[in-house]
């Protein structure tokens, strides 16, 4: 049993983090909030870096890696708050031409929600009666649909990985701020009330992390139509929880600054809410796991 990252996996993660830092840093994020469209050039660069073709066999022009690697890369995308229908396009690689290289942007309906419908070149799933909603997340245009919930375990798991990245990032942002911001003549991180908020954020993140990684290894969450297994449901449940609650706690640690549009934290919270509603919700996951007890 070697339940930890291999050298190759560490390198993959480091590489993607560097790529996203360089290509989608803070300035790009804020610019995207002002003008929420898909940056096609970036999309192609992500395609060239293998984000979408990661799990396609090398013979088909893919990278030939598996879900554990995909999860690590999506975690990085979640940290960076990278916008766009990443999961849908990744899952369409190999079936929708151009998805693997990032030339085609693919949206997908999970039966309840479709993100980036108007911007997408292709849509997977039933989206006939889609009606736009004023999305809570300024960087995720949304449509509501009224179909049957599509069961795509891989989509649920990759969405959980995005949530994990966001949870880890808000923990870091809170800790960073707690070390810098001074009140009463000391960094606020010296105060236990703040310290304990941060510690609980880390605990949530780490629990979500092992759940997501383990599900990537065990579930074999193929793309076929089958219900997510309990590992995937558990991973999504804990990752949703970590992303949403950590973002809230991070806002709290930031005080008044956290309530401004200027701070990035609200973007994490809003995206976390959107993702928590996608593919499998808290209630659905809990019922599914309970049924297997």
């Amino acid at each position: 049993m070697e339940f930890r990252l291999t050298e190759d996996q560490l390198a993959l993660r480091t590489g993607f983090r560097a790529l996203l830092d360089g290509r989608f840093g803070r300035d790009e994020l804020r610019a995207a909030v002002e003008r929420p469209v898909i940056d096609r050039a970036l999309w192609r660069e992500l395609g060239d870096a293998g984000l979408f073709s990661l799990r396609l066999p090398e013979a088909d022009g893919g990278v030939g890696l598996g879900l554990p690697e995909a999860v690590l890369v999506f975690e990085e995308a979640g940290r960076a708050l990278l916008p766009g229908p990443l999961v849908a396009t990744h899952l369409a690689a190999g079936t929708v031409p151009g998805a693997d290289t990032g030339r085609t942007v693919v949206a997908a309906s999970d039966g309840a929600l479709v993100e980036w419908l108007a911007e997408a070149d292709e849509v997977v799933g039933e989206a006939g009666d889609a009606r736009p909603v004023r999305s809570v997340d300024p960087l995720t245009p949304l449509h509501r649909v009224s179909g049957e919930r599509a069961d795509r375990p891989a989509a649920a798991l990759l969405t959980a990985a995005l949530q994990l990245g966001s949870a880890a990032r808000t923990t870091e942002l809170a800790v960073q701020y707690a070390k810098e911001r001074e009140q009463f003549g000391r960094p606020i991180g010296a105060f236990q009330a703040v310290k304990h908020l941060c510690a609980r954020m880390l605990v949530r993140t780490e629990l979500a992390r092992v759940a997501v990684y383990a599900a990537a290894v065990t579930s074999g969450a193929g793309d076929g139509v089958r219900a997510p297994d309990t590992d995937v449901a558990g991973a999504k449940l804990l990752a949703d929880d970590a992303a949403v609650r950590n973002a809230r706690d991070c806002i709290q640690v930031h005080g008044g600054m956290g309530f401004t549009w200027e701070s990035d934290v609200h973007l994490h919270l809003k995206r976390a809410w959107v993702r928590a509603g996608q593919w499998i919700t808290e209630a659905e996951a809990e019922e599914l796991i309970a049924a297997a007890l």
């Binding site: 070697e2 339940f3 930890r4 609980r200 759940a211 804990l238 019922e287 007890l293």
Partner: protein, 401 residues
């Protein structure tokens, strides 16, 4: 990332299962949980069986009398013994899980030869004399004094909440060998001693827990003479040795219980289905589902910590500022302990809801467990203290003082 067990590990599992199937029927019936002498006899008998079969001190180094097994084999051991319904360490807890490992790491060759084999054979039971009435969370402020008299220390003071003191042979004892002063800060001047519980001057007075048992006690030490040769580590260097002990206590000691909690959760679900609560109460059902996710993840966290510790660090596990501390027992252990202690309490709160009116009947073992679960966020360092450790040592936030 790989969660499959190797062929060797599966061979180990197979042999263990085979042995358990033969050994367990030979075990006498479990004693009443409130009968400590009975429990000592039972727990040590089980330890002796493990010893004779070569399963004692599995994860201890071979030169400490252990089997030098990998941490993964230890996990398999915990999984399979729990699945087979074997007893947990019980009265052997301190000796096997933290006093023994501390002596193995810090003791001299003679000390290892003297103290470790009897722990493995189940001949001697240890207890932990760290806490004092005035020194719990602030352990370093302890006041029990040891004064050197030739080749002995003469010890006076008192200890409290000493688990299994009633039935122990030895005590890992923290004493002050140098009074706190302007030049001696409280973390210095502490020494780690091994004390015989039958030494003249030791008085044990059982304390009754809120669960009704006498699982811990007060200890009064009145001019107890302890040979200098029974000191582990240098004089006044006991705080460092204590950190070794605590890292074992928090790092590995609770791991086996996660498997037990998962089994209990399955029993809760079955009972709820049988008594109609399952269909009647969707909120209860959902709580059971959430607990299923929590305990599964706690087991994964254990596997992760163990993999990191046996493979050397593969770098940080992601967040936490890249400190990579998860292989180090004690720190990764604090993350685990924080969540586990809480989840265990939630498990038995949920059990009470499954039981409905029967939640008030102490004859049901879940209700005893519900009571004892209250200690998990206190013993071995409270949740507040664990949060300080996580915040300061993993996240690098400023110290309180």
């Amino acid at each position: 990332m790989d969660l499959r067990y190797t062929e060797d590990e599966e061979v180990f599992r197979g042999q263990l299962k085979e042995w358990l199937a033969k050994a367990l029927p030979a075990l006498p019936p479990a004693p009443d949980p409130l009968d400590w002498p009975g429990r000592r006899a039972y727990d040590t008998a089980w330890q002796r069986m493990l010893y004779e079969a070569g399963y004692a001190g599995l994860h201890w180094p071979a030169d400490a009398g252990g089997r030098g097994a990998t941490p993964t084999q230890h996990l398999i051991f915990l999984e399979e013994t729990e699945r087979a319904g074997a007893p947990y360490v019980g009265a052997n807890f301190v000796g096997l899980l933290h006093a023994g490992p501390t002596i193995a790491a810090e003791g001299t060759a003679e000390q290892r030869a003297r103290w470790l084999p009897p722990v493995l054979r189940g001949d001697e039971i240890w207890c932990q004399g760290f806490s004092e009435p005035g020194a719990g969370s602030d352990l370093a402020s302890l006041r029990t004094r040891a004064v050197r008299d030739g080749d002995h220390y003469v010890v006076s003071g008192s200890k409290i909440w000493t688990s299994h003191a009633e039935v122990a042979d030895w005590c890992e004892l923290l004493v002050r060998t140098e009074p706190v002063s302007d030049t001696v800060p409280k973390h210095r001047g502490i020494t780690w001693l091994a004390m015989r519980m039958d030494a003249p001057g030791v008085t044990v007075r059982p304390l009754r827990t809120l669960a009704g048992s006498t699982e811990f006690a007060e200890m009064f030490l009145d001019d107890v003479r302890i040979p200098v040769t029974d000191r582990v580590g240098a004089e006044n260097d006991g705080w460092r040795v204590t950190m070794v002990t605590l890292s074992f206590e928090r790092g590995t000691a609770f791991v086996g219980e996660v498997v037990a909690c998962r089994r209990t959760l399955g029993e809760l679900a079955r009972t709820a289905r049988d008594n109609g609560r399952w269909d009647a109460d969707p909120a209860l059902r959902r709580r059971l589902g959430r607990l299923g996710a929590e305990f599964a993840a706690l087991w994964r966290l254990t596997q992760w910590n163990v993999s990191e510790s046996q493979g050397g660090s593969s770098g940080d596990s992601g967040s936490g500022g890249g400190r990579g501390g998860f292989g180090v027992p004690g720190i990764g252990g604090s993350v685990f302990k924080l969540r586990y202690s809480q989840a265990r309490q939630e498990l038995y709160e949920t059990a009470a809801d499954v039981l409905g009116p029967d939640a008030l009947d102490l004859a049901h073992p879940w209700n005893q467990d519900r009571l004892s679960s209250l200690s998990y966020t206190i013993a071995a360092g409270t949740s507040q203290i664990q949060q300080n450790i996580v915040a300061e040592r993993i996240l690098g936030l400023p110290k309180e003082r």
